[in-house]
C-alpha cells in the first residue's frame, strides 16, 4: 500500500476530470486546479475542438468509473466515412465489416461537464477553477498558481502532483526548462493548421447531411470534415496548409477568395453553410502538433498524463481515447503491490509509453490517409477486401483501423505493427495481382485470400524481426 494520499491534479479537462473521479473513487484526497472558468457555467469553446470521436478505448474508461448509462445519451453513432467528391457524389465507407463496431460523435463540453459533476459529487474531491498554473516545484511537489478571479498568487502542495494540463502543460515546461535531469522532448508541427466551421441545424433540429457518418471531403493536399451534434448541427473542420498550395490559410484573406475556394473544392458543403464567411473570419486558425516526452515522472513527486505527456494530431480520433486509456492503464498499476508512487510511475511509463508513441505515429499516418488515400483505387480495393474479411470472418480479421479503434484489449503499438504489416501485405498482393478484390471472389476464394494475407503479414513481421527493425 502507498501511504501518501493527498493528490493534486493540474487541469480539469477530459483527462484530469476523469482521473479525479477515478482517484476519488479509490479513496484518495484529490484537489483539482483548472485554469479556465467552470465550463458548466461559462461557454469557453471559442471555436476550437468542440466535438470528439469516442470509441472503445474511451468507453473502457467510462466503464471503469461506472457512468456508461450517463454517457450513452450524448453519443451519436458514426458507422463510417461519408466520402464527398468534387462533383458532390457521396459514398459511405464503413469503419468495420462488423455492425457493432462504430465510433461516436460526442460534445467535449457535455462529456467534460458530466465528468466534473461525477467527480465533484465525491466528498474527497475538490475542484478549483480560474487557477492558472505558472510553475511547478517538482522537487517539493508544490505548484504556483495565479487566480484570475482574486488576482492573487498562491502555492499549493501535495504528496503527488498529476499534470493533466494538456498539450501546453506547465509541468512539462518546467521539466524542460529546469534542466535538472535528462528530459527527452519533442514538439512537431504539421505544415497544416485547422479552422472550425459549422453546418447549422435544419428546421426542428433536423440534420442537413446524413447524420450517422463522419463526412470527409478529401482533396489530396487539404480536406474538410464534419461530425454531427445532438442539436442537428455539424461541426466542420478545415485542414489546410498555412503557406503551401494555391489556396492556404495565409492567402485566404478575403470573402471572395474563401468563397472561390469552397465553390471549387467543396461545392456541396458550401450549399449547407450559408454562415461560412462569418465562421471563417471569426474562428481562429490553430496549429496541429505532436508532443512526445520522457520521463513523464519525476521521482515519486510528479507525473504527466494525457495530452500533457503525449499530444497527438486528431486524425485517428484517438486523442481523448488515448488519454482516457492512460487512466485505465494507470489504475491497473494501483491494483499491484507497489509501496511507493515512484515505482508505480516507473512501471506505468515503461509499459505505457510505447503505446502512446505508436498512436502519435498512427495519427500522422491517418492524416495522409484521410486527405488523400481514401480516394485512391488501391486503397479503396484494400478497404473493400478488409470489409469483406471482417463481415464474413468476424473472428479472424481486424483491419488496422479496427485494431486501433475497436480492440482495446491490445495496445496501440501491437495494433500499429500488425496493422501496418497487414496493409503492406494487401497493397503489395493487390499490386502484384496475387489477390483480387472481393466482388470477384467466391466465399471459398475469400477464405483462401484471407489465409494468404495472414501468411504474408506474418512473413513481413518475421522479416522485420530478423532484421532487428521492430
Amino acid at each position: 500500500m502507498i501511504k501518501e494520499k493527498n493528490i493534486q491534479i493540474i487541469g480539469a479537462g477530459l483527462c484530469g476530470s476523469l482521473l479525479a473521479l477515478r482517484l476519488g473513487q479509490r479513496g484518495y484526497n484529490v484537489t483539482v486546479f483548472e485554469k479556465r472558468p467552470d465550463l458548466r457555467k461559462v461557454d469557453i469553446s471559442a471555436g476550437r475542438s468542440i466535438n470528439l470521436a469516442l470509441s472503445d478505448r474511451g468507453f473502457a474508461a467510462i466503464d471503469l468509473v461506472g457512468i456508461q448509462d450517463k454517457v450513452q445519451p450524448f453519443c451519436i453513432p458514426m458507422n463510417g466515412r461519408m466520402l464527398h467528391d468534387t462533383e458532390g457524389n457521396t459514398v459511405l465507407a464503413p469503419y468495420s465489416g462488423r455492425e457493432h463496431e462504430y465510433i461516436n460523435s460526442i460534445s467535449r463540453g457535455d462529456l467534460n461537464s458530466l465528468l466534473l459533476d461525477e467527480a465533484e459529487a465525491l466528498p474527497n474531491v475538490t475542484l478549483h477553477f480560474n487557477y492558472d498554473c505558472r510553475s511547478v516545484d517538482f522537487e517539493n511537489a508544490t505548484s504556483h498558481f495565479y487566480n484570475y478571479e482574486t488576482k492573487k498568487e498562491s502555492s499549493q502542495s501535495a504528496d503527488v502532483i498529476f499534470g493533466t494540463d494538456g498539450a501546453g502543460s506547465a509541468l512539462r515546461k518546467n521539466y524542460y526548462l529546469e534542466n535538472k535531469f535528462l528530459f527527452s522532448f519533442s514538439q512537431d508541427y504539421l505544415t497544416h493548421g485547422y479552422k472550425e466551421l459549422s453546418i447549422l441545424p435544419a428546421e426542428n433540429n433536423g440534420y442537413k447531411a446524413y447524420k450517422n457518418a463522419l463526412h470527409i471531403w478529401g482533396r489530396g493536399d487539404f480536406m474538410l470534415i464534419a461530425l454531427p451534434n445532438l442539436d442537428g448541427s455539424f461541426t466542420v473542420t478545415l485542414f489546410l496548409s498555412y503557406a503551401e498550395g494555391d489556396y492556404n490559410f495565409n492567402n485566404l484573406t478575403t470573402k471572395e477568395r474563401v468563397l472561390e475556394f469552397f465553390e471549387k473544392y467543396f461545392k456541396d458543403a458550401l450549399e449547407l453553410m450559408p454562415n461560412l464567411i462569418d465562421d471563417f473570419f471569426e474562428n481562429p486558425t490553430a496549429p496541429l502538433g505532436t508532443v512526445k516526452c520522457s520521463p513523464w515522472h519525476y521521482k515519486g513527486k510528479t507525473i504527466l498524463l494525457g495530452d500533457a505527456a503525449h499530444a497527438i494530431v486528431p486524425f485517428y480520433g484517438q486523442g481523448m481515447n488515448a488519454s482516457f486509456e492512460d487512466v485505465v492503464e494507470f489504475d491497473k498499476f494501483l491494483d499491484l503491490d507497489f509501496t511507493t508512487w515512484e515505482r508505480v510511475f516507473e512501471a506505468f511509463e515503461k509499459s505505457r509509453k510505447q503505446d502512446t508513441d505508436a498512436i502519435a505515429d498512427l495519427a500522422i499516418d491517418n492524416f495522409h490517409e484521410m486527405k488523400g488515400h481514401v480516394n485512391h483505387t488501391d486503397f479503396r480495393e484494400k478497404r473493400s477486401l478488409e470489409m469483406a474479411f471482417e463481415k464474413q470472418f468476424p473472428n479472424d480479421y481486424s483491419s488496422k483501423y479496427s485494431l486501433v479503434t475497436f480492440n482495446e484489449k491490445i495496445g496501440y503499438r501491437e495494433a500499429m505493427l500488425r496493422g501496418r504489416a497487414q496493409d503492406k501485405a494487401i497493397l503489395n498482393m493487390l499490386a502484384d495481382k496475387v489477390i483480387k478484390t472481393p466482388l470477384d471472389l467466391s466465399p471459398d476464394t475469400l477464405k483462401q485470400t484471407l489465409q494468404n494475407v495472414q501468411k504474408e503479414t506474418n512473413n513481413i513481421l518475421e522479416d522485420d524481426r530478423v532484421a532487428g527493425l521492430k
Copy 2:
C-alpha cells in the same frame, strides 16, 4: 546575386570555422564570435570529445576549401574495427572490402586550429573569442553577447547570422522560447552516458595497441572504444547506462568498484590503463543526445548549421562529417541563381534536412550495432559476405556502412534506405538458409549470391514504396 554581404557566425568550432573560411573565400565580410578562449592558445579539451573520425564526406569539405595537404599529416588511418572479447582475443573487422576505404582518427584541436588559422589569414574574416551569445534578436539579425574578458555586454548586428554554436545553440533556444513561429524541435537522450579515458603512449611515442584500427570492447549493454592519437596515446571512451544494469555510472562510485568492473569486462584494456582511476574520477560523465529541429532558418535573417541544427550521437563517426557536408551543400546553393538569403535558406533546408534526419537515425542504429550486434553470429556472417562482395565486385556493392561513410555522392537518406534494405535482405536470406557465408562459396556462386541479394533488396524497397512506408 545576393546583395547583403555582412555575415555574422556564432561559434568557431569545427563547423563555424570551416564556414567562416568558405564564406571568406567567396568574398563575404565574415565576423565570428566564439564563446570559449582561442583553443590555439589555451587547452580547453577538459576530458570531452578529443578525437574524431574523419571520412569521405568531411574530406569533400576539406577539398572544397583546398587544405587537403595540410589536413593529411594529422590523419591516422583506421582500416577496421578491432573487436576485443572478454578473454582478450581480438579480431580485425574491416570497414570495407575495398582497400582505399578507411576512416581517419584526427584530433579535434589540431583540425579546429588549422581551420581557424586558414580563416583568420583571409583579410575579410575576423575572429573574436570569449564572446558568449546570450540571445539573438532574429527579427533584426542582432546578437547579444557577454564578453568573459571585459565582463561587458554588447550587441552585434549583421545582414545574416549563422548559428554554428553546437548542440546547445543559443540561436536555436531563442527560436524555441520566443514562440514567434511554429518551431518543431526534439531533444532525445540515450539512457547511456559517456566518459573519456586514455591509454598513454608507450616509450618513444609507440602505441600500446594496434595503431590502425578503432578498438571496440562491445559487451551488449555497454562498450568501451579507443581511437589512436599522433603521440602514441589512445583516447578511450566508455559508453554505459546511467542507472541500469549491475554496473552503471550511478553506482561506479569507488576505486574498487571501477577496477572490479574493468577486470571483469575489459581485462586486456585495463592492463594498458594504469591511469584508469585518475581518468575515471577526474573526467566528467556526459550525456548522449540527438537534436532535430525545423525550420533552421528565420526569414532571410538567421540560420542554424551543424550540430546547432542537428546534433547526433557519435556512433557512426559522422557528427563532424555531417556538419562539414552542411557547408559543402550550402555552398552549392550559393552557386545557384538566388537573389535573397531567404530563398537560399529555404532551398538548402528543403534539400538537406532529410539527410541530417537520416544520419541521426543511423547513428542510433550503430549504437546498438557496436555494443552488441558486432559479436553476433548472424551479424558477423553478414559482414563477411559484404566484405567478400566489396572485394570481388568493388563496383557492384557497397554495404550500409560504406554507403554512409565512403559514398559522399549519395545523400545520407538514400544510404539509409538502401543500406537498411540490404541488411534486411542478407539477414533474412541467411536466416532462411537461402544463401551461405562466403567461405563456402566459389566465385561464380558469390556472384550469383550478390545478384540474389540485389534482387531481394530491390523487392524490399519496392514493397515499402507500394505500401507508402518510405
